[in-house]
Symmetry: C2
Subunit: 228 residues, 2 copies
């Protein structure tokens, strides 16, 4: 049963090639490792990423990974940041709607995390990578243009951060276990004597996540930069 990883190591062609990236089994590289890690995380979830599986998928030995990467933690950090890249829209001509910019960036942020559900719960406890910092920087600049004074800037940023993270983490985990949710709501129905109110509004079932996110975000923005 022990996987006899066949010694099918491709014999390299005799003549020297000056451009080695066209190999049929491309060599290991940080990029390839991270891309595969993201794939694995998407398909097998956060517990499904193991160094062994990662190496198998790359057609390499387990320890080869450690040449490119310090440890598994680092793989998470890099995969996370890779997934959160944001292409800043070309700065339009004039003083356009700052609010639309903020909403767009944050909704894109949330969408990126929901596309890779493991990322949301990972983000808060990992160090901030360049793509994340980039988003924060952009957010800060936009809010600045919107008239938020410097004394309130950190408060504003963290409030938005908190809101987006809470919404996305909750959505991501409730999404994946919708069966559990239905079971929970069912159990709740049985216990409706104890929890009559949330049972009657069917809190755990028919929530419009996108709508909730958008409305709450609007409330928050109203508070942070009231329309003059």
């Amino acid at each position: 049963m022990a996987g006899k990883r066949s010694g099918a190591r491709k014999k390299r062609s005799q003549q020297a090639e000056s451009t080695p990236q066209l190999r049929s089994e491309p060599p290991l590289s940080l990029e390839r490792i991270i891309a595969t890690a993201v794939d694995l995380l998407d398909t097998h979830g956060v517990d499904g990423l193991t160094m062994r599986r990662l190496a198998d998928r790359l057609g390499s030995g387990v320890m080869s990974l450690y040449w490119h990467v310090d440890n598994k933690e680092r793989v998470f950090d890099l995969a996370l940041d890779a997934v959160l890249a944001f292409r800043e829209p070309a700065p339009r001509g004039e003083a356009l709607d700052w609010r639309a910019d903020v909403v767009h960036m944050l909704e894109d942020w949330r969408a990126s995390m929901l596309r890779h559900p493991w990322s949301a719960s990972l983000l808060p406890r990992r160090t901030l990578g360049p793509n994340i910092l980039n988003r924060l920087e952009l957010l800060s600049r936009t809010l600045s243009k919107a008239g938020v004074i410097e004394a309130n800037m950190n408060v504003a940023i963290w409030s938005l951060w908190n809101y987006v993270m809470g919404a996305t983490i909750t959505r991501a985990s409730f999404d994946r276990s919708i069966d559990d949710l239905a079971a929970a709501q069912q159990a709740l129905t049985r216990l409706s004597a104890h929890y009559p109110t949330i049972e009657s509004t069917r809190l755990l079932l028919d929530s419009d996540w996108d709508g909730v996110f958008r409305k709450g975000l609007d409330f928050l923005l109203d508070g942070l930069a009231p329309k003059t």
Copy 2:
């Protein structure tokens, strides 16, 4: 080196005892297991809770735990809910300030989670225990009294939930790794060319978490139930 757990099993006294709870080594019980698990989580963090350590701490064999508990997941669920109990304040005489009630409950919620920093990141991906449901039920009733109509109730609850979770998870994980944070801010200073704005406000360092939480919460409540 293998721990020879001495066979010091106390010989029970000859005459039958009707009240067995006074034994010097109390027998295992769900309560004792969960209480010890919470202790372990507090001191060693979420990765520090292992079934072996738990058993050692309880003076029992590892597999004995599995008599009382299905699996490790269940231990997390129970420890989490145990930590989130809320003693509803005695209903005061009249139509008192609903807003104060909501703020109090949510701040207590946040404080409970911060007292056990592992709980915040755990909560969103575990099934909701009775104590959590109790808080949601209470929140729902209070908002109802505040005039939130039923059509908006789920939106209101989830918005508040999202906000509290995001704030607490972020705070809990940033709190524990304050050294990392300082290092991150330092790295940021080195990269101030790329992130000038968030560098200048020292975003990663001098944030008043409690203040941010309170202010953002006020904004949200304003939006959910505007003062007439």
